[in-house]
């Protein structure tokens, strides 16, 4: 990692040049919510003016640029009695601007499954390799709990990471193309003064987290609380709509389905993001459902996030962005559920 400092106006020129030469995706205000607060979304931009670098948090996660809601895995062409399969997973390079540390950490978690897992996914790898990522730090929202999950800083998985230090950005450069690109702009080696303000900034961000979720020893007490009545309480609230999984930056469960074209000459095998809270998630042939009750499915989601994944990867899958909590129609959020469980655990002991 090489550190440099770039002034904000020069950084803008850098962005302009990137946008000119590549497909660039950045945070854009798409709408306002019921309190008139802006809602941001990642989409393709055509000039640096469109990008809102001071955005709070995007409503949906950037995982959808790597794992689209719907993706064609393979295509079949039918001829008389025969068929042929074609597979396409190569993509064009693109630039993603303005990812928050938790978003980049979420991608690093997805890498564990789709890049370094037992069966790496070429569809994902191709997208990941061909994406130039510019990260940006931010002041947390009141309900973010990234610091509890230790995902408020990021050390890998990006090309450039910018920390706001007043008039300029403190850059952490993590790839050779990024360094080559930045050579063409006015960047300076950080002075002692810059280092100091960078450390100040990091301390400030760490201090401004207002929500804290205690995750120590979570796996073992989730085991103990497996039959806790708390799950019934939260399960009854849950609407099983699957919104939480759609906005989550790390949820990756999917289903595969096949569709025949109207002219019956072609068919495609599509992957579709799914949610473990949906009724037929654990249904098998013949109609037996391994998780028939609402609370079973909600519990399973928490188990996968905070226990199951931890057992395999030594860290929970959750990054603490609280997107699920914000999007939930029934007001279920990880902080409340975990605190409730903890309370129940303490009462019993």
């Amino acid at each position: 990692m090489i550190y440099r400092v770039i002034s904000k106006s020069e950084f803008r020129k850098f962005l302009e040049s990137l946008i000119e030469s590549n497909v660039t995706i950045g945070p854009v205000q798409s709408d306002v919510d019921r309190n008139n607060d802006p809602i941001y979304k990642f989409q393709q931009v055509h000039s640096a003016d469109e990008i809102e670098l001071d955005y709070t948090i995007s409503y949906t996660a950037v995982k959808n640029f790597f794992l689209p809601y719907r993706e064609k895995l393979s295509e079949y062409t039918f001829t008389d009695d025969d068929w042929d399969q074609t597979i396409e997973y190569r993509v064009h390079p693109r630039v993603l601007v303005g990812l928050r540390p938790c978003d980049i950490n979420a991608l690093n978690i997805l890498d564990r499954i789709f890049y370094k897992g037992t069966y790496p996914s070429p569809y994902y790898i191709s997208r990941r390799k061909n994406t130039f990522i510019i990260g940006l730090d931010h002041e947390p929202l009141p309900d973010c709990f990234c610091s509890s999950m230790n995902h408020h800083t990021v050390t890998e998985g990006f090309d450039v990471f910018c920390s706001d230090i007043g008039d300029s950005y403190y850059l952490a450069i993590n790839s050779s193309p990024a360094f080559d690109f930045l050579k063409k702009f006015q960047v300076t080696v950080p002075t002692d003064e810059d280092d100091k303000s960078y450390i100040e900034r990091r301390k400030f961000i760490k201090k401004s987290f207002k929500t804290n979720v205690e995750i120590g020893s979570l796996p073992s007490f989730l085991d103990i609380e497996f039959d806790s009545p708390i799950w019934k309480k939260w399960g009854d609230k849950c609407l099983n709509c699957g919104t939480c999984a759609m906005v989550c930056p790390t949820c990756y469960c999917y289903q595969v389905e096949e569709n025949i074209a109207v002219n019956l000459k072609k068919a495609s095998k599509d992957m579709m993001l799914y949610s473990c809270t949906i009724l037929d998630f654990a249904e098998v042939a013949g109609g037996h459902n391994f998780r028939p009750k609402k609370e079973d499915r909600l519990k399973y989601r928490y188990y996968h996030h905070y226990r199951g994944f931890e057992e395999n990867a030594k860290e929970p899958i959750c990054v603490g962005c609280n997107r699920c909590g914000r999007a939930c129609l029934a007001d279920i959020n990880p902080k409340d559920v975990i605190n409730d469980l903890r309370l129940d655990n303490e009462e019993r002991s």
Partner: protein
């Protein structure tokens, strides 16, 4: 001055993913796309009203050579345009000519498969999952317990012990079905008993007028045979309800939990440990399973 910051294309070329057969003894990192082996249905055998046995031949000669499996593994069978289903392999590992799959008519894809005739082309991915530890069982008695369709995945180990019969001591097959008409592979029982010296016991719950065998639950068959708990390995396969009864019973007889193996059933969508549809706690049925010893199953919440 205009800066050209065009990003280079990073090509991910994973197509020639397997030139040599993968090693199934350890989890090897395999690059796999959704490419299927094209197979031709070369024979269809009606077993019962709902089950048919399909013989599939992989068309490409190199792919046929690459396709090697162990008893207990499964494949993803695809009917292009209809869907993909996980099916356990029920043929002998030494049969390199064709693959046998026993399929019950139960959903969209399997309904179409049951209408398929000889000569149709289907896709096959795999094999996936782990397998029964057949080498470990050498020199021991083997107890194969199947209920209903559970006999299909047990045909793999059954072929294995038949082919290496002198390496194993007593082999018992206990098979339970709802009705006599639902019994699978009836034409092979004689062969197994007479040629391979396997003790074959079967029982049905609801007999019809032609049935003159045993009537009752599968656990009753365990009373009829003598089991040496220390030197016996058991493989249990059947509907989820059956596992609990049979495994508890075997536990009482004294077979250690890590010598009882079960094959779990889930609706896999990818077979590669990614879609999470088959996840039990922290374990993927498709990558870490489908074969588990009973000890692991007890430790997995919601497994059966």
């Amino acid at each position: 001055m205009k800066n050209d910051l065009k990003l280079p294309v990073q090509d991910v070329n994973l197509e020639p993913f397997m030139a040599t057969p993968p090693q199934y003894t350890r989890k090897k990192v395999l690059m796999k796309t959704d490419k299927v082996y094209k197979c031709k249905i070369i024979n269809v055998i009606d077993l019962t009203e709902y089950e048919k046995l399909f013989h599939l031949k992989i068309l490409d000669r190199v792919e046929r050579k690459i396709f090697q499996f162990r008893p207990g593994q499964f494949v993803m069978l695809e009917v292009p345009g209809y869907g993909e289903v996980p099916i356990s392999l029920s043929s002998s590992t030494n049969n390199h000519e064709y693959i046998e799959l026993c399929i019950r008519k139960t959903g969209r894809t399997t309904n179409v498969l049951h209408e398929a005739s000889v000569g149709a082309y289907v896709g096959l991915r795999g094999p996936f999952g782990n397998s029964f530890p057949m080498e470990k069982m050498q020199g021991n008695n083997v107890l194969l317990i199947a209920g209903g369709l559970g006999l299909a995945p047990l045909r793999g180990p059954l072929y294995w012990v038949s082919e290496y019969r002198d390496l194993y001591k007593d082999v018992h097959v206990l098979y339970g079905a709802k009705e006599p008409s639902q019994m699978l592979f009836t034409y092979q029982y004689n062969e197994w008993e007479k040629v391979n010296h396997i003790n074959m016991l079967s029982i049905v719950e609801n007999p019809d007028e032609n049935w003159n065998g045993r009537v009752g639950m599968i656990t009753e068959l365990l009373d009829e045979i003598e089991i040496d708990p220390i030197n016996t390995y058991a493989i249990v396969c059947g509907p989820p309800v059956m596992f609990k009864f049979v495994c508890n019973r075997l536990d009482k007889i004294g077979i250690p939990m890590n010598k009882m193996f079960v094959s779990l059933e889930r609706r896999m969508h990818c077979g590669m440990g990614k879609c999470c549809r088959c996840m039990v706690g922290s374990t993927f049925t498709c990558v870490d399973g489908p074969v588990f010893d009973y000890w692991s199953v007890l430790n997995l919440k919601e497994a059966i």
